[in-house]
């Protein structure tokens, strides 16, 4: 589904990603872990097409399409979703209206008819139940005055509404208490199928107790320095990132 080859990217003069290789197949859950500043959010942003980041080298194939050639909205139309680490606020714009526009724009991209008010409401009710989210939150302006947890749950709700092929969750667990993590994780698990995939970006292994990954990758200083199964996450938890840092830095110095 997603195939990243030798991806280099940076911002202004600064190189951040220094040769990423990653393959994700339908049905899989991948976790990317790594210390702060290692480039996790940059990778997510580059995949989603944020214009500030410059791709310096490499390629990304998404279901047979050259992802890097597509506009951000076309990537969304193709089924790529990013749950933002810091969701933005749009004052005055009702969350429901925003989601309805998003759903119908994506449907338009896919050549599907747009949902009328009744069909949209039905879909929303169904997903609200699934995500355990309250109607009152969705009538408020988009993310305006939402708590950290509410913002994150709103991201996952939008993911449920848009039913992406590949969902990238950027630290969706940070700032959530354990109950909220459980709700978010439940939501993600309900959406999993053999046709879609999830890329979880996280700092802690805590989330991986609830969303069990097939593969875990450690990102450090713009490179994937270690890949393994979920045991790798446990090992990291036990030994800390310093262990990775010392190993990698030793290799680089040599």
């Amino acid at each position: 589904m997603l195939s990243i080859r030798n991806l280099h990217a940076g911002i202004e003069e600064k190189k951040i990603l220094k040769g990423i290789n990653l393959d994700i197949k339908p049905g899989e859950v991948h976790a990317i872990m790594g210390p702060n500043g290692s480039g996790k959010s940059t990778l997510a942003s580059v995949l989603a097409g944020r214009a500030d980041y410059e791709v310096l080298d490499g390629s990304v194939d998404f279901d047979g399409k050259d992802l890097l050639e597509l506009s951000p909205e076309a990537r969304a139309g193709e089924g790529l979703f990013l749950a933002f680490q810091y969701p933005v606020e749009i004052p005055g714009l009702s969350t429901t209206n925003f989601i309805k526009t998003a759903v119908n724009e994506v449907r338009k991209y896919r050549g599907q008819e747009s949902l009328d008010a009744v069909a949209f409401l039905r879909l929303m009710k169904e997903k609200m139940a699934m995500m355990e989210i309250d109607q009152s939150l969705l009538s408020r302006p988009l993310n305006e005055g939402f708590s950290g947890g509410e913002k994150k749950r709103n991201e996952i709700f939008q993911m449920a509404m848009l039913e992406p092929k590949l969902a990238i969750l950027d630290e969706t667990d940070s700032g959530l208490d354990i109950d909220a993590i459980r709700i978010v994780a439940n939501g993600v698990n309900k959406l999993r199928s053999k046709d879609n995939a999830v890329l979880l970006v996280t700092h802690y292994q805590r989330l991986l107790d609830y969303i069990v990954p097939d593969f875990v990758h450690v990102l450090y200083n713009g490179r994937i320095v270690k890949s393994g199964t979920k045991e790798l996450a446990l090992e990291l938890e036990e030994r800390g990132y310093d262990f990775i840092k010392s190993v990698v830095d030793a290799v680089e110095e040599a």
């Binding site: 989603a48 097409g49 944020r50 214009a51 500030d52 506009s71 951000p72 909205e73 990537r75 969304a76 139309g77 979703f81 990013l82 933002f84 969701p87 933005v88 749009i90 004052p91 005055g92 714009l93 009702s94 209206n97 925003f98 989601i99 309805k100 526009t101 998003a102 119908n104 724009e105 994506v106 449907r107 338009k108 991209y109 747009s114 302006p141 988009l142 939008q158 848009l162």
Partner: protein
């Protein structure tokens, strides 16, 4: 697809979709302004002597004045001798029914989305349509008359209700008020007249559409609304014009009078031709709008969505004379390309316990300039008067400007005026967030500005809110990304 948005997408493809010219024969005055022209207009309208005298007095006063230059707008000098002051589509003088409206005219109004017949009757909006200088048709007249409501063109009112016109015209905006008000008083061509009798709640929206069609004409309409004790009326005006290379002048006067416990809600969706991307052509919109809360507990509320005109100079105001009266001003002003707007309001608190609320949302894009100018005056006797003003500006890009000029004068120690102002930019991160959800940049901007302007849009009657949302999006087309 969200209904509002699908239409935006269609409409952004056409630049100014109201820019067509209707080819109808017109009955025009010769170019230029003189006493003879004033007499010509008055004669055309078959006016009584007192009306002519009034016009001539205004004309003579106007001759003594200089054009004001304090507003934050720039434009080349207007040659007042190069304007046609009267242009009427040629058709039968008096219409007996709607079916007699010239079919070409009727098609014009249909293009504007205003149907003068059954369709509109069903939607329950009474429409008065003014093209160039003359009111073409007023719908729903009989139905309104049953409740004693008068809704007709100003010309008809002068003929049929001279005592009312004589009593109220110029009572809120005297002919000596300012340069453009004096000019309007001399040459006003038509406009709407509404009279709501005591205790009557007007059962439908009253609406006027103004359109400038003929070349080199100015439009000088005059609207007068009188709401007697305990009555209520909601009135809406919409405006369009064809695209022309030259600038056209529009100088209207609107007067509102609210007696005890009466309420007048006046909404404007102003979409005059703004000129092209280089700043050529467009309407100069110099308007004087003022209401007086004459009675105790009366209320006047102005809501405006201003997207058009090359230059806007406009300050709808309220004189809060009656104790416990309420004045409101809700405004969204959008400027793009080379448009200039200097707009705001004046709240003049005279009575006790008077309240006013000002919500102004300015959106600037391109090379445009958008100024808010407001005056809140609390007089000596305005015990416990309150004002709250909120002025927010949103900038798209870095070549446009937003300016706020709030003036507050408090002469009574128990009265309080509060002012808040913010300026923000549409953020790249907001646009990217929308993009990531499949929403293109154009639509994202439309969503963001409609969110920004929501408090004002919510004040508009339902049918017009949708239209206004589309207009906001259209007028900002191509301004981001």
């Amino acid at each position: 697809m969200n209904e509002g948005l699908s239409t935006i997408e269609q409409t952004v493809l056409s630049d100014y979709k109201y820019g067509f010219v209707t080819h109808i024969e017109a009955d025009e005055a010769p170019k230029g302004l003189s006493e003879d022209i004033v007499r010509f207009i008055s004669a055309k309208k078959n006016e009584p002597q007192w009306m002519l005298e009034w016009r001539l007095k205004a004309y003579r006063y106007w001759l003594t004045l200089k054009e004001p230059n304090w507003a934050n707008v720039k434009y080349p000098a207007i040659n007042y001798q190069d304007i046609i002051y009267y242009s009427a589509p040629k058709q039968k003088v008096k219409l007996n029914s709607m079916d007699e409206v010239d079919p070409e005219l009727r098609r014009t109004f249909e293009k504007l989305g205003i149907s003068l017949d059954e369709q509109k009757r069903l939607s329950g909006v009474a429409v008065d349509a003014v093209i160039d200088s003359v009111s073409i048709a007023t719908t729903f007249k009989e139905q309104l008359a049953e409740q004693g409501i008068i809704f007709c063109s100003m010309s008809e009112a002068v003929q049929d209700h001279p005592e009312l016109v004589k009593k109220y015209i110029g009572s809120v905006v005297p002919m000596t008020d300012n340069y453009f008000a004096a000019l309007n008083s001399a040459v006003f061509s038509d406009g709407s007249f509404c009279y709501i009798p005591k205790g009557v709640r007007c059962p439908m929206e009253l609406s006027t559409y103004f359109r400038i069609n003929a070349e080199n004409t100015g439009q000088f309409e005059r609207t007068l609304i009188v709401a007697e004790e305990g009555s209520y009326v909601s009135y809406l005006e919409g405006c369009t014009a064809p695209m022309r290379d030259e600038n056209q002048l529009h100088a209207a006067v609107v007067e509102l009078i609210a007696m005890d416990k009466a309420e007048i809600k006046y909404s404007t969706v102003q979409n005059w031709y703004p000129g092209d991307k280089e700043g050529n052509g467009g309407i100069y919109n110099f308007v004087t709008k003022r209401g007086i809360c004459q009675g105790v507990g009366s209320k006047i509320s102005w809501t405006q969505v201003e997207t058009g005109s090359a230059i806007t100079w406009k300050y709808p105001s309220v004189i809060l004379k009656g104790d416990n009266s309420v004045g409101e001003f809700y405004s969204v002003a959008v400027t793009n390309n080379h448009q200039q707007a200097d707009t705001g309001t004046k709240m003049q608190h005279i009575g006790k316990n008077t309240r006013s609320r000002i919500v102004s949302k300015g959106i600037s894009a391109g090379f445009s300039n958008n100024s808010y100018r407001g005056l809140v005056h609390m007089g000596k006797k305005a015990t416990n008067a309150r004002n709250f003003s909120q002025c927010d500006s949103l900038l798209l890009g870095d070549k446009c400007g937003a300016h706020t000029f709030p003036y507050i004068e408090v002469k009574n120690s128990t009265s309080v005026a509060e002012h808040e102002a913010t300026t923000s930019k549409i953020g790249e991160d907001q646009i990217f967030y929308c993009n990531q959800r499949g929403i293109d940049t154009e639509t994202a901007v439309a969503l963001i500005i409609n969110g920004f302007a929501k408090e004002v849009m919510n004040q508009l009657p339902m049918e017009f809110a949708v239209e206004a949302q589309k207009l906001l999006a259209i007028s900002l087309e191509g301004s981001v990304g």
